[in-house]
């Protein structure tokens, strides 16, 4: 058998060689250690769609989110962990099987609160092991799933409410039922291709009795319609076989979105919220006879507001008269629905509420700003602090050290925060820079000025960050021009050529040369100006909803070439790609030149290339017309011709592209289900999944100094892939080698360690990971190392070993961190630990070698290490610091050897007096009593020496005069000890077999 084993190894080696030479590089297999890090923010969190309890364990709570997947709390909502990162992150419903709640969980993807910016789902999933692994059960085209209900008496019987497609017709809608645990499904309630199931409820006492609200709805890029003749509330009493409308007491005419809830403690009591034609007939209705008759109880604002966004009713499991309704603030009634008051102060837009299974005072509420807990029945609310679900529309970066990330969030304003911070990037590191819904945020290229905006450019702010001065600078109506149409997410741009230049787009391109004080329109209407798409005051259907979110026929993206300020690209939401080569005097619409692009497909992003004046990339998104395909094109001739760069590798629509500044074939594509990368200009795309959830990537930027890829996601905050430069260097030559070292920049030993962590009070907060400050040895392995020894040493240029590191063994990119330190000194053995002795000294600046031994092969790579220039130390200071540190390092080891010798003599000598004298000497050298805490003994020479060593080695600065004086005292004491020891050693005359000093310190 073992022979077989080895022949397999041989075979594998041959195969991998063939692969490397003949096949195109399958990039997906080679990402290796290239890993994303998440920096949040979590302080404002993001939209929650559905909350779910465990039926018997009050500690377990689930949150299904709009764009950040499913999160599970095991500590009653104190903290949450993601359990669904590999799958679609837009969630409609989470259901725990009441018969097997520890193991069986269903997740229906696709959020159901159908605002303009919603993402999409891709089906129904089931876990049989509490969320560790998931299987897809189908419904790929369902787009959004509103409810999942498992029969509490039969786990095999499950109902799924499919709301269905928002932007197109679809037959995958209605209520589906399985009787075999999800293997096969029957559509048991269907109305038509425009009407989906918006809410489903089961009688807790009779699993055959079901209530389903069907909703006729449709959204386009420029309008929304809620309601129609087909919206209705249905009841089935035979497990879904037949359904009847239950409208006795309902308002006449068309209906919109309806919510339905059955009181768990009395299943005759039902509540529905009705969106009707007449405002006075809208609101909460109650039935006390299981739906036979209905009576309107309330039509307050809080109950009727925005039905498409808030149609959720929850009844207290123990009291049928306590009813909670989602809404702008959330409303709670304690008199059976007659009157309501607002829930306690929290983020607005309440989408779901659950009561604790044992105590109705404890509630969990899902909002546009995360999950809140209440301990007093919804009066006071506290936010969950570790849900980094922030939904960015856009991000940008500056060139500060560390660089900052700027961006605007769905319903959560605009923010900026650092890409690294002491102890990690925490809530306190983020700064608010705009209210309302936030979108684009840009830093002035040279001044401490930040531009931000709110929806529809109602306000565009210019913030003087130094003097805390705010001014609104949005373009205003101009004589001789039509009314300005700004997109909800209005584009802005700064210039690489003129720092004070600032662009904004309505249907016109506006240019300012003085940071927004003066505006000039430099284009005609660049859109299709289709009046049919400009009727937003009629939008909403039965409930008018003119929030500006549907504004259309607008400019959506602006890109001034970094190579020529007269070249400006503009993309519009109705499908135009316009370019000017003369600073706006003349414009050319290049859209007719784009092959295979459906008419009027939203131009989401244009990237003006740094690799050629006529080169640009354009990304188009057709999802708002039901087209889920990705479209991205490249031109090299100012748009006269465009080439498709999307392949079948890309599974879903895209919104953004980022080119590499060095390798023109390296591109990054932000899609609705995550990040894709190509290294061959778009011939193949590979999905990047290393700590990268399948979340919607709305915007990507590449920080030029660090080569960090920074992504604004719409559901998981800012995600960064540090230093993507190895991707530039993956090619067939590198792949053909047994091991290929990537070129690396000079590694700077950062002295900026001045942080004291996050302190207390942040235990339950999300903290974003910092980038590594270590020297990174990066190499490519064509095949994973599994068998035999593999080692990595850092050596000086003479081949002396400095440090031994654990090498990476991954197929593909390996990244090994070295903290610039040699090993810690050998410390004298005492009763307790010498904490200073755990310090390892930093190496001096210079060249070093990374030496990898793998089997019989040795691979070497030379790299440079430099001092941190910002700490202001001269070469002489550095030298003094290093020499003093190493002097103390050597002293520490010398003392260790002395104590080793002394212990051996004590052990060996028979002379009582000598032994006593040696013990007395030892008591002055190391601590021989006490513990490591409040029982610690008086520090002796070892402790004083090691502590001073650690103080000097750990400081960024050269040794102070006080430290040098202290060193001289320690040296004197050590010299005396050496003399005393030599005398005693002589007296003891013991015969010893001791390790050499070299052997001792290197053991």
């Amino acid at each position: 058998m073992k022979k077989l084993f080895f022949s397999m190894l041989v075979c594998a080696g041959v195969l991998s060689t063939i692969n490397a030479q003949d096949k195109p590089i399958e990039l997906q297999k080679y990402f290796g250690d290239l890993t994303a890090r998440h920096i949040g923010p979590a302080l404002m969190s993001g939209r929650i769609i559905d909350m779910e309890s465990h039926p018997t364990n009050a500690r377990i709570v689930y949150a299904g989110t709009a764009g950040g997947g499913v999160w599970k709390s095991n500590d009653a909502g104190t903290t949450f962990n993601p359990i669904f990162d590999d799958y679609c992150q837009s969630i409609g419903a989470v259901e725990v099987d009441p018969n097997n709640p520890d193991n069986v969980i269903y997740v229906g993807t696709g959020e159901t609160w159908t605002r303009n910016s919603v993402s999409i789902g891709d089906g129904l999933y089931k876990s049989n092991d509490g969320g560790t692994t998931w299987n897809k059960l189908g419904f790929e085209k369902s787009e959004r799933i509103a409810n999942i209900i498992v029969n509490p008496k039969n786990s095999n019987e499950v109902y799924v409410a499919i709301l269905g497609a928002l932007w197109s017709d679809s037959e995958e809608r209605g209520v589906y039922k399985t009787t075999d645990g999800g293997q096969t499904w029957n559509k048991v309630l269907y109305v038509d291709q425009t009407t989906g199931c918006a809410d489903l409820a089961m009688d807790p006492n009779d699993p055959n009795t079901l209530y389903a609200s069907m909703w006729e709805f449709r959204r386009t890029g420029w309008s929304f319609n809620s309601g129609g003749d087909k919206s209705a509330l249905y009841k089935s009493t035979d497990g879904g076989a037949t359904w009847n409308k239950i409208h006795n007491g309902f308002p006449e005419g068309k209906l919109g979105r309806l919510a339905i809830a059955v009181a768990p403690s009395d299943s005759n009591i039902l509540y529905t919220v009705i969106e009707a034609e007449e405002d006075t007939k809208k609101g909460l209705y109650r039935s006390d006879d299981a739906g036979a008759n209905w009576k309107q109880l309330n039509n307050d604002f809080g109950i009727t507001v925005r039905p498409f966004y808030f149609s959720r009713i929850v009844v207290d499991p123990r009291n049928p008269d306590v009813v909670v309704k989602g809404g702008l603030s959330g409303s709670i009634s304690r008199d059976g629905g007659k009157t309501f008051r607002n829930l306690g102060n929290m983020h607005s837009d309440i989408h779901d509420i659950i009561f604790d299974i044992n105590d109705s005072d404890r509630m969990y509420v899902g909002t546009d700003g995360g999950v809140y807990r209440s301990w007093n029945g919804g009066t006071t609310m506290e936010i969950v602090e570790n849900l980094p679900l922030s939904q960015f529309y856009h991000i940008s970066v500056d060139d500060a050290e560390p660089y900052n990330v700027y961006g605007g969030l769905q319903d959560n304003g605009s923010w900026y925060g650092p890409s690294s911070s002491g102890g990690g990037i925490s809530a306190r590191d983020w700064n608010s820079i705009g209210g309302g819904d936030g979108f684009r945020v840009l830093k002035h290229p040279t001044k401490n000025i930040i531009y931000s905006e709110m929806q529809g450019a109602e306000n565009v702010w210019r913030f003087d960050a130094e003097n805390k001065l705010v001014k609104t600078i949005q373009p205003l109506p101009q004589k001789g021009y039509a009314k300005l149409r700004f997109n909800w997410n209005a584009p802005m741009a700064v210039s690489a050529h003129q720092p004070d230049r600032f662009y904004m787009g309505s249907q016109f391109l506006h240019k300012s040369e003085d940071m927004g004080d003066t505006w000039k329109i430099i284009s005609p209407d660049l859109t299709t100006n289709d009046p049919a798409k400009q009727q937003q005051e009629d939008s909403g259907g039965l409930s008018m909803d003119n929030s500006g979110a549907e504004n259309h026929t607008t400019i959506f993206t602006i890109a001034e070439s970094t190579l020529d300020e007269n070249i400006i690209w503009v993309g519009t939401d109705d499908g135009n790609v316009q370019v000017t080569k003369d600073g706006g005097k003349t414009w050319t619409n290049t859209t007719p030149n784009i092959p295979g692009l459906p008419a009027n497909t939203w131009c989401y992003h244009i990237e003006a290339s740094v690799h050629g004046k006529g080169t640009a990339y354009a990304v188009f998104d057709g999802h708002t017309s039901g087209d889920m395909k990705a479209y991205a094109y490249k031109t090299t001739d100012y748009g006269q011709t465009w080439t498709n760069i999307i392949t079948d590798d890309v599974e879903i629509f895209a919104r953004n592209i980022q080119e590499d500044y060095v390798n023109p074939d390296l591109l990054f594509l932000g899609t609705e289900f995550g990040l894709y990368i190509t290294i061959d200009g778009g011939k193949q795309w590979a999905k990047f999944t290393n700590n990268m959830p399948a979340t919607a990537v709305h915007f990507i930027d590449l920080q030029k100094r660090t080569n960090d890829l920074v992504m604004g996601t719409h559901g998981r905050g800012v995600i960064i892939i540090d230093d993507i430069s190895p991707l530039r260097q993956i090619n067939k030559d590198a792949m053909a080698k047994k091991l290929h070292f990537f070129e690396s920049k000079v590694a700077e030993m950062n002295d900026n360690s001045g942080s004291f962590g996050n302190g207390f009070g942040a235990e339950t907060q999300f903290v974003g990971r910092n980038p590594s400050t270590a020297a990174q040895i990066k190499y490519l392995l064509p095949k994973r190392h599994t068998f035999g020894k593999m080692t990595l040493e850092i050596q000086d240029m003479d081949g002396n070993k400095i440090a031994s590191l654990g090498p990476g063994k991954s197929k593909g990119i390996n990244i090994v961190n070295w903290g610039y330190r040699m090993k810690q000194p050998k410390v004298a053995k005492g009763k307790t630990f010498s904490f200073g002795g755990f310090t390892a000294p930093r190496v001096p600046a210079g060249s070093y070698k990374a030496v990898i031994k793998k089997g019989r092969d040795t691979f070497e790579h030379t790299f440079k290490v430099a001092y941190d220039k910002s700490s202001g130390l001269s070469d002489a200071d550095r030298k003094l610091k290093h020499n003093t540190t190493m002097k103390m390092y050597d002293m520490t080891q010398e003392l260790a050897y002395m104590v080793y010798e002394l212990d051996a003599i004590i052990e060996a000598t028979t002379k009582k007096k000598t032994k006593e004298a040696l013990n007395s000497l030892k008591e002055t050298l190391v601590i021989t009593t006490g513990d490591n805490y409040v029982g610690s003994a008086e520090p002796q020479l070892r402790e004083k020496m090691a502590d001073l060593y650690a103080k000097i080695a750990g400081s960024y600065d050269k040794p102070s005069n006080a430290e040098l004086e202290s060193l001289s005292i320690i040296e004197e004491r050590f010299e005396k000890a050496k003399v005393d020891f030599a005398k005693l050693k002589k007296k003891a005359k013991a015969t010893l077999e001791l390790k050499s000093f070299e052997a001792f310190v290197n053991e």
């Binding site: 058998m1 073992k2 077989l4 084993f5 022949s7 397999m8 041989v10 075979c11 594998a12 041959v14 195969l15 399958e26 997906q28 297999k29 080679y30 990402f31 290796g32 994303a36 709390s73 095991n74 500590d75 949450f80 962990n81 520890d102 092991d129 509490g130 560790t132 692994t133 290393n690 700590n691 235990e763 990971r769 994973r784 190392h785 599994t786 068998f787 035999g788 020894k789 593999m790 590191l805 654990g806 063994k809 991954s810 197929k811 593909g812 961190n817 903290g819 090993k823 810690q824 410390v827 004298a828 053995k829 005492g830 307790t832 630990f833 010498s834 002795g837 390892a840 490591n932 805490y933």
Partner: protein, 250 residues
């Protein structure tokens, strides 16, 4: 020509093996065979590992002693002083307090959980997995960091968490070329990180007395390396001082 023939035969052997080994149990059987075989591992009564743990750039030399009956001691050398970070005497788990350097018993629930998995160290959880009441399931063939793997779910005895039993699952990735695990994913079952995923990467399989063991183990959490362990020496069936497993009274 001869080389080509050898290659072809080896290639066919590969394909045949992969095609046949479709069930989790068959994969585990092949794995146990590949690392030395059921019989050879059955004869191992003790395993002593000498190695170095590396955490945040600091090296911690250690000696770990595992007995067939589950008794365990992991002894770390800190500045020349022995410091027991993990021990199990067959019934109870204990370790040293860093402040006092004295032994303290683990809470009874931790001991009970430890006992359930104490026999998983020689060589690992898959050895005699059926006798131990564990279950395996082949979930899929999928890539782990670009290497094709059998994804196998191992369900061990339930773990006690605050008095309640919870499912205890690890996901193993067995390299389809060599039938050895190269990665393990587990959900943290208790403590502040409960619910988060921890990963262990296994490599540097080397032979010792005809048995194969991964000499390198890298523990990752949230994508970052926590602890790296490198084995320097492994000894089987050496003389072990039985007293080391008992918690010292002082």
């Amino acid at each position: 020509m001869k080389t080509l023939q050898v290659f072809c035969i080896a290639f066919l052997v590969c394909i045949t093996t992969i095609t046949n080994a479709q069930t989790a149990d068959e994969i585990i059987t092949t794995y146990i065979e590949n690392i030395g075989g059921q019989e050879a591992w059955s004869k191992i009564n003790s395993m002593q590992v000498t190695g170095v743990g590396k955490q945040q750039g600091v090296d911690y030399p250690f000696v770990a002693t595992f007995m067939k009956d589950g008794r365990t001691v992991i002894d770390v050398d800190l500045q020349g002083t022995s410091f027991i970070v993990e021990a199990f005497d067959g019934e109870n788990s204990w370790s040293m307090n860093f402040q006092t350097q004295k032994a303290e018993a683990a809470d009874s629930e931790s001991s009970a959980n430890y006992k359930n998995e104490a026999k998983d160290n020689i060589p690992d959880a898959f050895f005699n997995y059926k006798q131990k009441g564990y279950k395996v399931e082949l979930l899929a063939t999928e890539e782990w960091e670009g290497t094709e793997c059998f994804k196998i779910k191992l369900t061990k005895k339930p773990v006690l968490v605050d008095g309640k039993e919870e499912e205890n699952v690890d996901i193993y990735y067995f390299d389809t070329e060599n039938y050895v695990p190269i990665a393990v994913e587990s959900i943290v079952t208790s403590g502040a990180a409960k619910g988060a995923t921890a990963t262990i990467l296994l490599s540097d399989y080397q032979e010792v007395d005809g048995l194969y063991i991964a000499f390198s183990q890298i523990n990752k959490f949230n994508g970052q390396i926590g602890l790296e362990m490198t084995y320097k020496k492994i000894e089987f069936n050496t003389e072990i001082d039985e007293s080391i497993f008992k918690m010292p009274k002082d």
